[in-house]
Symmetry: D2
């Protein structure tokens, strides 16, 4: 398998150093094969239009890139550590198949704008996937609410009973919150939806390219004009994506916290079916809400990914810096964690039960203290006095 790096000058790189610089790119990049092929196809067509490649050349490149894309979909495409990344792997394969023509695909392009183009396409797909999964989660909440919505149970503040609440109110809150997350996802999509292709290494390229054509071909809403901004926006877009993912995860963290506490047998408002719980290796009676605990914990994971990107992005001179390479993994892991969590949470809602009896039992008289005060208000007493009257009932000296 050929392994000529795109920047190879014939000087051998120190082996250990190479390991260090390649890192996990050759693994992570497996997710980008499809997108790099699509972007390369658009670039080839554009080079054809500009007269830099002949029509026959374009066709050959496009065919071969489609081949690679198919191979990848069948799980037959691999990137070796020596090849370092998807971009080298694909160009090597093109050159093997098409000879010198393979090398021409890189005309008017740098790895910098190539990487970003593939990543943006990947981001767009995954943001869309998050929107779709968020909607499915909302559907699951609606369905849960239609089953149990009418059940009244105590609402809590400060982890103490406060006032009457209901399953409908609780589910509705989660729905509204996820709805706002979708709004944020859509705003982020708009941000990300700018084509970086054609900006070279961050200072343009010395030949004329039709950037509008590639942007359109790839389905980008617009061209990101300024090549320096293209580079500056790396880290920015990534951390905005991750911020929004933390918001989705926070919703699930809060819902999971509710379910963990409200399904304690001591309260028992919610019940988790056995197939959603795990046991202990020493305590035979245990049915543990591991799934919920992991949903809760994974919020912090995604928060730390966001921090990772924000830490890496600061105090750097304008223009591409290799540091930025490390922002790829946290975003990919962020999407993976969030998408899996949304799926699991929706599935969980399908099995979740509300214990009507326990909910009713929970509605002790103190839950109605505010109603009691307002009844006094309706009888003409000022709220402050009504409050003091009722509060006395609940104050024992200790």
């Amino acid at each position: 398998m050929p392994t000529n790096k795109l920047w190879d000058k014939g000087i051998p790189l120190d082996e250990e150093i190479e390991d260090f610089t390649v890192g996990e790119d050759y693994i992570l990049d497996m997710k980008l094969v499809k997108y790099d092929c699509i972007a390369s196809i658009a670039h080839a067509k554009m080079l054809g239009k500009m007269g830099i490649l002949k029509e026959a050349e374009v066709n050959k490149l496009v065919n071969e890139l489609n081949n690679i894309k198919e191979l990848s979909e069948e799980g037959k495409f691999t990137i070796s550590k020596k090849q370092e990344d998807v971009h080298t792997a694909i160009e090597n394969m093109l050159t093997e198949a098409l000879g010198e023509l393979g090398g021409k695909i890189h005309t008017g392009r740098s790895r910098n704008d190539q990487v970003l183009t593939a990543l943006r396409l990947y981001y767009k797909d995954n943001i869309a996937e998050c929107i779709s999964l968020s909607k499915q989660y909302i559907v699951a909440l609606h369905s849960f609410s239609s089953n149990y919505g009418g059940i009244v149970l105590p609402g809590y503040t400060h982890t103490r009973k406060a006032m009457p609440s209901s399953i409908r109110l609780w589910s509705g809150a989660l729905i509204d919150s996820m709805q706002d997350n979708i709004t944020l996802l859509e705003a982020t999509l708009l941000l990300v939806d700018q084509s970086p292709l054609g900006t070279g290494a961050g200072y343009g390229v010395p030949i004329k390219l039709d950037r509008n054509m590639t942007a359109k071909e790839l389905g980008f809403a617009k061209v990101q004009e300024n090549p320096i901004y293209v580079q500056l926006s790396r880290g920015k877009f990534e951390s905005t994506i991750l911020h929004v993912l933390t918001q989705i995860m926070l919703d699930m963290n809060r819902a999971a916290t509710d379910l963990i506490i409200f399904s304690m047998p001591e309260l028992g408002y919610f019940e988790l079916p056995d197939k959603f719980t795990t046991g202990s290796s020493i305590m035979p009676q245990k049915k543990n809400p591991d799934v919920l605990e992991l949903l809760r914990a994974k919020y912090h994971l995604v928060v730390s990914y966001e921090m990772q990107v924000k830490g890496i992005s600061g105090n750097l001179l304008t223009g591409y810096n290799r540091d930025m390479q490390l922002t790829k993994k946290p975003v990919m892991e962020g999407f993976e964690v969030t998408e899996q969590s949304l799926k699991v949470a929706a599935r969980l809602l399908g099995g979740l039960k509300v214990n009507k009896d326990k909910a009713k039992k929970g509605l002790t008289s103190d839950v109605y203290a505010t109603d009691e005060a307002y009844r006094l208000v309706k009888n003409g007493i000022s709220f402050r006095d009504a409050y003091k009257t009722v509060s006395k009932k609940y104050t024992k000296s200790n």
Copy 2:
């Protein structure tokens, strides 16, 4: 000065504990006096409409609240530590002036929705201020670019000369990036622009209120219907605001890093006027770019504020928790730091100079290596071969 807390039941609180729980609220809340008055006025009018207060009562309350607002604008309103927060301070003052009527303002309201309403109004104002200051920063960049835009200087990647760049390109990148920040600010404004007033402590109130009326009166785009979501969104909205502020600060961090390095006498592309530099107490020759260093550092400050909110918000049971009180300070400080930084950065751009000679001197032949390679491409050589030919010129064995 009366200091009856809104939840006072006549049991003395441990002094040291009280200090601990009040924290800095009584200081921070000085920024909220205006907003709490405005919100209380809307609430009073609505209570009037619902027949809970008489017209004369409403008028008295509105007058007194306007008085307090004016006092505050004149710097004459104070909140004592004993009063704990702005809400108690205002209600105490109302009661002092109007007797029992002062206590009626809290009918149909909890401190929970009251705090959130004041905060939302404060957020809206400050987001608007950030948008305005961002635009002024863009104006400063345009003006800087119109003075020096034509100057060509080396563009860097990996902190190494890469290809020719220009002041216009550099300024343009900062402008486009700030433009995207404004888009994010506007998206955040939409999120925040929901009226929480009328949701009580998080489970509604047992009397009928006209939430649309107060929302409209206060200029909110819509009513945030679900009372549980109102509470859940605390922390969410705050961290979204702070995320966007980190993006503004990141832009300034990156610009400051450029200016610090590019104004090193060894490079000298940029020059900072003496009145923007500070000296050393031991080294007489020093002119240090402290302003730029602080702009750089303050990015990390705001990132940590965002983390603070995200840390506090996780693993909590639904419904208000006192933990949330601590999210007030990071947002306030976040706005303060960002607004001041934008002002300072714009001011700095006004004094910043570009050294044309140094820029020219920086344009050594290696900066044009890519152009050289593309000249060979135009003569029919494949890019890969052209690259290898040119790269040989810059490879010395060592």
Copy 3:
């Protein structure tokens, strides 16, 4: 009041820029007056020994510095914003009192090593204070344990009843954990206990100083020899201090979480006296554990301070950078929050009660399932089989 900055060259600094660079130093530095006086006294004596100052001069300086120290202890010393920091304020006062002699104190010193010396002394005092308060917290736990230690209550895993536990076991865990924190505090003290005085701006000073003398005079365990390391260690020492503080806060976060949940009336194992709870402005029955919630939340505060320092410290060129100035506040706030929290937690333990009846009621049969399995093991059945036998009792189909 004279306001000549130590690096003043007669060029006016832009007003707004000055505000930005001074920041809150003039407020924060009030905590450093004492330490800067002590350090300056040691420095003056050393200059005397080296023959740079005459004995009479040294005496005058020492007297005046002692005066300033006393003034500060009486709350009569102030730092104006114009003076920027404590170092300028003190030198200005010396010059006012002693004329030209005041200016001589800065011989062989830079603000860089001066700031660090004052900070290190301040750190040492506060680490010692944290150790002392941690020990008091341990005393409070011992006292609590001696009152209630014998009470058996359910131990939880996964927020589910697991096996029998006891107040003694619970208190003991908190004690052991705090003991390990003290070990960490002591290790940190060793790190911090190095004298930076005499390293100038980070590259030494061009005259001979007796660094051992000042180190000894100030009670430092050793001289921090390398002047570049003195600067590099800023940020390092600060973040190590803050890390240890987060560990103390984590212990309290976990204890607070336990108390919040275990004092829910639904479980009721612990009881918080009324004077440690607060009420709601709308719900008359509420007694909220605000103190515990704030203890819980403040962990995240200190974590974010640590992150602040770690964010600021990265990607900087060796040698002092103004960015480092911003590490002062997070450490100071970190100490303040931690010390206050330790005091409040110890005080709280004094009032905390255990409800013996509720604890007993909580010991349902499932808590003894493991004991049950081990009884079977003692009768010769393998643990795996015993486990399966007992687990069947607790498995209902659902």
Copy 4:
């Protein structure tokens, strides 16, 4: 291959849920096989001593566990996803080889203390490895300093020339800082060096065990007595380890930042050999310091791992929570990143060169301004006046 989970009760777990809960444990745990075997051997021997297992049984178990350990060292041991983790995989293998006896190894043990024991042994080994690699890095610095130490070059503050420095001073600072890191590593080792084995699920086990024996057998310095603290210390120990790793990484971040800037051709004090640089796919002249950039960036990676653990650990009820499972990966990755970085940095120092001519050329007259002022001081002028005299030379009006 048998896949009976240690807590299996015969109820099938939802497939998707299972994927979610298992996560990457079955991959990460490959690093723990050795340690789990060692710990199980000690546990078996102790059960023998207590009369719970017969001598022959102990011998069989020890032999088989040694077999597994060897298999693992030869890379022949695998953990299937179904088996979930190393503990199930090993017990399954024991049962397959030894029948019912395999199940007896879990007597008096829970997965909770089993996991912690394996992890602690793994931590101890890796902390020792970090100490060893830190010392090798120090050796590399000494060797670098002995080659180039005498070269004088400008020292910088505020990214501006300040005073003369030298390679010896610079290397010495990095050495001293790494020495302090070693001190911190050793303090952390003491903390971690406590045996958790024998504490069961966090509330002890209902049979008598000899915890001192297993602790001694495994080389732990002491027994961690309190079983609740054993669980509480998870997260604490992990974040302390990660904090110390961030300090090592910070040192390399700062050194890398120096080298990136000081090896810019515009300054040129340092030179990186070609085999340590990488090229650009578009710019033929480029030799980029990717290795240094990645060293710089990886600091932020480890900082985010620390945050991950600190985020996950907060707001949890005492006793094991599944959340804690997620702290395994960040620590493992933290060790991996740090160890690899130390190796690469030491290797890099071997190839690093100092350009004597460029260093000399950098020593412009302003670098000596402080010396100049002190020469005036020696002639009897006060430092403040000398400072002002010299500073005038470097002040041009602009």
